[in-house]
Amino acid sequence: MAEFNETDQTPTVDPKTPNLGDSTTSSQPKPEQITTIDVAVPIPDVGPQLQVVVEEFILKSGSDDEEVRTAATNELRDFIEHEEIGITTLLVVVKYAHEVKNVDLLDAFCERVADLIKDKKVVEVREIFGIVNDFTPGEEQALRYEHPWAFED
């Protein structure tokens, strides 16, 4: 995918859409980032703040003490809720969490992604995730006929 440098990135969907100002993020993680913790798979480049948060979380989620784990999870979720994390970054972390098999991390970020899908219209969902509409007009029409019950009222 060709790199496209954008300086103003005002989202056209509702304010909940994440800020696309992740200037340095590409969709491919850069595995050469060296972290202070010895992790089997290094945390990809997600910006310094998030990096720290994820590192901390991975540390704590390995703890034997359930309270520590729960507290860490809550902290992580709070962070995710209050910071505008770009969609690209979210997906990067999701893939990373999947790779390192950290279920709590995965869940936390997946839920955020699900939140972004919630209550959106079809075109909005496509915009957020850059989904390419591969239906023919005929198929789209058929789909619309299939689903009116979900969209009445």
Partner: protein, 255 residues
Amino acid sequence: MNEFLHFLRFSRLEYMNQGLEMSLPDELWRWILELGVNTSCLTYKDLCCISMSCRRLNRLSKEDVLWSKLLSFDFPAHVSSSTDRQSPKSIYQIRFEKDKVKKLLAERRAVLRIESRIHEHTRKLHEIEGRLVDENEKLKAAIDELKGLRRVKEASTALKVWQPEIIHSRQKQIVENCSVPVGFRINALEMEIKLCKQHISGFLRARKDENDRLEAAKERLSKVKYHPLQSFGLDDESRNSRKSTGKNLKRVKHE
């Protein structure tokens, strides 16, 4: 040139994010969708929207696991038998539509009930208005009569003193024309007037009360008509309580 054409075809945002969705494999999308459904973040509506976005998501959002879960959340009453050959999504749609019809009928019944109450209140109000008019007329008549009798009383008192002949004879006429016992009648009238006023204030209170009831009923009616289809029997509370911390969620095999 290719890039430029590309840029023209898609909106800026789409271009920026193009292929983001493709960067996640099927199993991660499944994970996201299942998680969304299990925490009641995603509803039937969201799944339907997703299913219309592209072929892959169409396939992924139709999966039985998701719709069975939605069925158990939204329509728990009915137990599906193993002989159900339809897909959970179809079953969901059927139940959804049946439920909608039920709700529509219930709404209609509620509307009719309230409309008949409104009719009743209106009728009562008319009645009270009628009584008010009558009572006011009675009051007016009594006041008029009282005025007349007071004049008679004054006249008979005045007769006791010397007056010019014209006045004297007029007063005599007034007194003689009155055929009722003045003092007695004046007392009766004063009592009647008092009573009328009491009745009137009673009717005014009753009218206000009835009117309040009428307005309340109209308010109820407009509410029922505005929210004809509530969300599925689920309150927001039970929906929120399902936003768990992830402990009870069904795990999908990662590999």
